[in-house]
Amino acid sequence: MIQYYFDWSVIWRNADRFAYALGLGLSLAVISLFIGSVIGIACAMARVYGARWLSWPVWLYVEFIRNTPLLLLVFFVYFGLPELDISYLDKTQSFILTLSLYAGAYMTEVFRAGLASIPKSYTEAAKAIGLRPWQRQRYVVLPVMFRITLPAFSNNLISLFKDTSLAAAIAIPELTFVARQINANTFRVMESWLAASALYLVTCYVIASALRRLERRYAAIR
């Protein structure tokens, strides 16, 4: 075993940067999940109810995103788009756009599965009591779908939060970036990466258990 002397003071000295980085990473994940969910609902509807000309492009979008590494998408939006003279977005906006599109593809699949698993009797019952098509969606289908998809939703939030570490590659000062920077500045390799890992772990665990409670309250269709 190599002798290594831990010096955690470097972490305490940079506690404010870590805190800011953690907040930034969480915001990126939450905002992207929100936008991604909107994309996801629209695309899932298009795939389930839409005509062929509508569902086919959605299929293409979902498969393209799901089969491309996220880092490449991040690079494409950040480095590639300005080369095509599309440079309205700053680095944070570029990343949110990328992560939202990425989340959107996954949420499309989640919601599609949710829609598919709603028992036919629900919509038939809604029809029987005279609800119009949009009312059926609004009051019956979507609420049930959200409950069904809640576990998948929380899984996605956690995995998106971990994916925000890729933002370090385009100089966004989130957790991985800060850990790397402290690493470069002080050579306290173990301390900075262990601190970052612990923060990822604890945050993900807290999100997971909070959402699990929520699931227990709402998720079941009884």
């Binding site: 480095f79 440079s87 100089a171």
Partner: protein
Amino acid sequence: MDERKDEAGLVRRGFFGLSAVGAAAGAGLGLMAPAGATAQTLGKSRLQMIKERGRLLVGTGSTNPPWHFEDANGQLQGMDIDLARLLAKNLFDDPTKVEFVLQGSDARIPSLITDKVDIVVQWMTVTAGRAQQVEFTIPYYREGVSLLLLARGGKYKSFDELKSAGNTVTIGGMQNVFLEEWVRKALPQAKVDAFESPDATLQALNARRVDAYLADQSAARWLMQQTPGRFIDSGYGWMPNSYASAVKPGDPVWLNWVNTVYKEAMMGVDFDYFAASYKKWFGIELPTPKVGFPTEFA
């Protein structure tokens, strides 16, 4: 004649060496050195050892253009490599009689101390601290940092424009300890974006994500040389530091010989070789040294 001088040198340096080893007894490392090797390096100049061996051992790296890096065929090339070949040419009349020992920057001093190499030609910055462990030759380049700008399509064209733009400017650079400090020195208000690698930083400049790329001045020149017309230098360089070769301490004959070669490369008989190499790696034509005077008057 030369040999007699060396005999005398042996005696004097031998005594000096002995007392030095004695003083270092507590350090341990000094005592570990085999006595035979010590006697040999003290007795005969490395210059003679190299002549007898028939090839020069040069410590260098392979990953830092334009100093020492591999071409498409895996052959080492660069400014450092050219200087090493110039030494071999002047030793053996054959620039190929050099063996490159590839090493990381952190191995530059240890490999000299342990006699793994005869000389280090590896973009070594001269510092007073290092000069206590090795002996530096005369410097062959003054390095610094400069700002690389896009020649076309960028917002700023010169250092003055960058400076007057204040905090609306973003400077990209490699993530390292000094990045922010160096940028602040020249542009106190600028924002700094740190990237993981030089290529990511360069792409950020290409994509106009950053307004300028803070690079080693030599790297900036190399990039301009590689893609003519694409980049320009902001015209301001700072953070000066000198690149020199280093040798193991205690061998004035060898050190002086290398210094002679370097000096005459920059100012004398090998100027054409040096200037051609300089042009190749930095894209700049060196003016011919003024002739007809002692150097002190030129």
